[in-house]
Subunit: 365 residues, 2 copies
């Protein structure tokens, strides 16, 4: 049951070929594969190639349009609304980021809401698209309801991530990419495979009581907002997840709250019957650094900020203080060189997908 | 030692008169008093009239300019940088919000960084300035270093709040206003007065070990980021606080990280000697709802969002699920009617300030 390493290049080609066979245009298949494999490279395994079957399932459910006509349906000089035409969020979000970047070039910042989309992979990928432009990037998305607000038995929010990517000078960029829950659903799946309980503050049971069962969500329970309980600030995690939901859903004309179509759990949760908007929603943005401060000044102070935090004295038992984005970047360098570890069950699932679509699964490479 | 209630009108007039005596122009004194008393009305007592002495101390330390020339020093169609000229943040932030709102009117959204400012009171007040304009409002600020990043023994961040105010239709607005720590410093002060320990995950001691001493910060310890420890997601709270610090400090040309001048704790912590920017920094913004979606559609769906969350089934032992902003709004209605409770020690401090400035402290009213 030990994982086996696969080269990111080989995985990307495999995923691209599956998307091609699903009917995606070549450029879209390339991009979607890059977003998925980027998640594996950065260590967000729950949003990587292991989720490829989820996109296939969306297609089987007639919820995915492989050849979408993605369009700007409303705009001002600094804002836009994009309709994803039920396309892959993996492709729709980068389109919206390009619109945001162009707006930022014109008026300083650009902000785009997206409706009628699907799961967009890792938020961090989309935020980071702004970095080579010398801009700060943002990305948020809502997601199917797995999370109970503070004091709620009902699940009304997704894990609703926030990503902020900020360029530096000589130092690598600051990249915050966080679910607004104590733990992302993928962390639960790891514990499920190991038959281990969760720490406190991660989940509640079907009756709304604190729980430590890694299977709690499947049993009618819920993930908890960052903070875990009221005494530890869960109303803040709930507030952040709610903010993401309102920007991604209500402001975009997409579904929100309990109406957001499920993705990761589509197998055991039904999509809400009466919808309040179109598909899943996202919110992305770009800000020109020099709309606020000369770029070289900003870069020098960002370097100073990053170095100051890295050289802080660690607490007993720890060796270093990290800057947001450090762990993912270090892992990416490692996995680019050594390969991406996939559990045999994940590799088998991909092999079966390959058989269905006539795409050969690579041997260990 | 029971608190005594004072009318918000009487308190506002007293605070205004003190600011006038400090040399503030009448309009600034009015506004600053309104921001401070708003904190008391909304239950953020640690940012209300109890902090008036803090602003006087800033003046005594020559860090406060009562008659600032607040100016836009850089701008694009959608962004601006404001120099607060060492004025009260209570006055500088509303100036910047007006600039942001005007930008949003022109190009959809407006974003303003502020440097050379001081403590601005509650972030929520400034974000809510956008609501009567039919806009979404944002406010963030950095603050003196009381918070240790995940794995850090050193204090490098303030409690760095994020506020987001979103208008609805018939329902009252959504108002998120949160420190990015598990608990704000004011919560510690309440426990200090009661001689009670903190819950886990709020503070660490001077050696960087988990602690529950409400006096930990005064003893060289630190507040902890939302999440409390790594297992419960403190790297997310740290990431949020860092984001606020970079936007408020680095992007604005203000101080950041350990260089942000202290306010609440100015009595026992020295300001860092070599500064990296001008004063304290803020970041505010405004977004026109109809830059994304027709305002009436948005309002109707916000009402639906709010009602959906309010009617969620509560967990055992709780009576209702709240929407961000509900507790503060309910408390404000109560305190407007019944008065603002001040501890005798707080009232005595204000009476002494009044004596210094020749302003009569109101009898119980």
């Amino acid at each position: 049951m030990e994982p086996i390493n696969y080269s990111h290049t080989v995985l990307r080609a495999f995923v691209r070929d599956i998307f091609l066979q699903m009917g995606c245009p070549p450029a879209d298949a390339d991009l979607a594969a890059d977003v998925l494999v980027s998640a594996d490279l950065r260590g967000v395994d729950s949003h990587g190639v292991a989720r490829l079957s989820g996109y296939v399932r969306l297609m089987d459910l007639n919820r995915l349009n492989p050849k979408p006509s993605i369009q700007v349906v409303h705009e001002t000089p600094g804002t836009a609304v994009v309709d994803g035409d039920a396309g892959l969020g993996l492709v729709v979000a980068p389109f919206a980021m390009r619109v945001a970047i162009e707006k930022a070039r014109q008026v300083g910042t650009g902000w785009v809401t997206i409706r009628n989309s699907n799961h967009f992979g890792i938020a961090g990928y989309h935020a980071m698209v702004a970095l080579p432009e010398g801009m700060i990037g943002f990305a948020m998305t809502n997601a199917g309801p797995l999370v109970a607000p503070t004091f709620s038995k009902d699940k009304l929010l997704g894990t609703n991530p926030i990503a902020v990517a900020i360029p530096a000078g000589e130092e690598p960029p600051f990249v915050l990419d966080m679910a607004t829950t104590t733990a992302a659903y993928g962390k639960l799946e790891i514990l499920q495979r190991k038959n281990q309980p969760t720490p406190t503050g991660w989940v509640q049971d079907a009756a709304g009581r604190p729980d430590t069962d890694a299977h709690a969500v499947r049993k009618g329970g819920a993930l908890l907002p960052l903070g875990g309980d009221r005494e530890h600030g869960s109303h803040k995690g709930y507030g952040l997840g709610a903010w993401v939901d309102i920007f991604s859903g209500v402001l975009a004309g997409a579904n929100y709250g309990p109406w957001v179509p499920p993705f990761a759990t589509a197998g055991f949760m039904d999509s809400a019957q009466q919808l309040v908007g179109s598909g899943t929603g996202h919110f992305v943005g770009a800000m020109r650094v020099d709309a606020f401060r000369p770029a070289d000044e900003f870069a020098a102070h960002m370097d100073n900020w990053i170095r100051t935090f890295r050289k802080a004295e660690p607490v007993p038992g720890q060796t270093a203080v990290l800057v947001p984005g450090d762990p993912e970047r270090l892992l990416e360098a490692h996995r680019r060189a050594e390969g991406i570890p996939l559990l045999p069950a994940v590799a088998d699932g991909l092999r079966q997908l390959g058989e269905r679509f006539g795409v050969a699964w690579p041997d260990q490479s």
